[in-house]
Symmetry: C7
Subunit: 74 residues, 7 copies
């Protein structure tokens, strides 16, 4: 167990693949390119998932932080 603060996980995830669960049930996966204090997140090579399968490829995307339920680096 680490004792890092929650936002440390965002910094450590830069450049790696992350899974984002959004409000309303949408899930997207991509390479985390940047974030800010509102947890707004830019993904590259992003894909929208449905039941774990790729539904469509979205390239670069900006996800509003207030729509994020959780973020999981993979």
């Amino acid at each position: 167990m680490t004792e890092k603060r929650p936002f440390d996980i965002l910094n450590g995830a830069l450049g790696g693949s992350v899974l984002l669960k959004l409000k309303g049930g949408v899930e997207v996966r991509g390479t985390m390119a940047s974030y800010d204090v509102h947890m707004n997140i830019v993904l590259e090579n992003a894909e929208q998932l449905e039941d774990g399968e790729v539904k469509r490829k979205l390239g670069t995307m900006l996800v509003r932080g207030d729509n994020i339920v959780f973020i999981s680096p993979s």
Copy 2:
């Protein structure tokens, strides 16, 4: 992977086509004409999409930032 901040992607998207996923499932696509710090966005030649197909043409539109789930330049 870039290290740009999330809002940089909005600036880079000006004048190009973007896809917006809104709360409640509506999707719109158009040419990004302007934005502000609340992520309010003006699209021109905007179209509302349904299952990826054009449902109706809306011309110029102002989308409230707090309804945006994600923005993807295309």
Copy 3:
């Protein structure tokens, strides 16, 4: 493409017809009479739409800005 800020579109829409998509799926159309910084909007000769058809005529109405999904001048 213009480089006007999002709220400029509201000013330009004064006196003309606008379509408002509200949270919960309601759509209204009317002549834009005024707005404020919260995006509260007064419409005159307003009509509530359903599937693009006029459902009922509402005359003058004040729409709370935080219920607006998008505004499209027509």
Copy 4:
């Protein structure tokens, strides 16, 4: 078209009948007795409507502003 600010419509509606559409689809109608800057509104002789018909009479009521979708004087 007037150029009054949105809240002017509330002042002009005092003492007259207004229709309020609330979040969740409820509609109420009554005589507008007072309002404040949060758009909290007191109606007198208020009635809850369903499909345009009176569902029940509620007398005096205070409606929280943040539940209001739109207000239409009639």
Copy 5:
């Protein structure tokens, strides 16, 4: 028609029976014992209603103001 401010109605309702419609459709009725500036309200001898019938008796309860749709003294 009175010209009292919206919160005046809360003060006048102290000690009397009020009907509260809450977000999500729940309705409760009880004797209004206190309130604060957030519209948090304490009811005594409170009952939860369903289709106008008493569903269960809840005694004393504190209702969070931000869940209130409307308050109607009876």
Copy 6:
């Protein structure tokens, strides 16, 4: 009828059993161990209820205040 302020009821409920109705319809019951100004509440010996029956035992739990619809000491 008392004239205590709404939060007084929380203080008086410390150490006793309370019923919490949460947004989304979940109900929990337990011994109220602490609260703060955001109405965040710690319950001990907490149980999640369904139709008034115990669905599962949850032991100690922290409930976020902004998810609470009402609190009823029993």
Copy 7:
């Protein structure tokens, strides 16, 4: 019954297993690694649950505090 403040429970839960109920009904369980004042929480060895069964393993995850309904150390 303790008289600790609500956030004390988070501190006491560090390094142990917690169950998080999120808005929209999702439940996750994992080892609590960190939290902040917004109740943002990092779990390690996290699992998403469905009807109490493990639906999928998610490893490390950051859960936004404003999506949390309740937190229960186990």
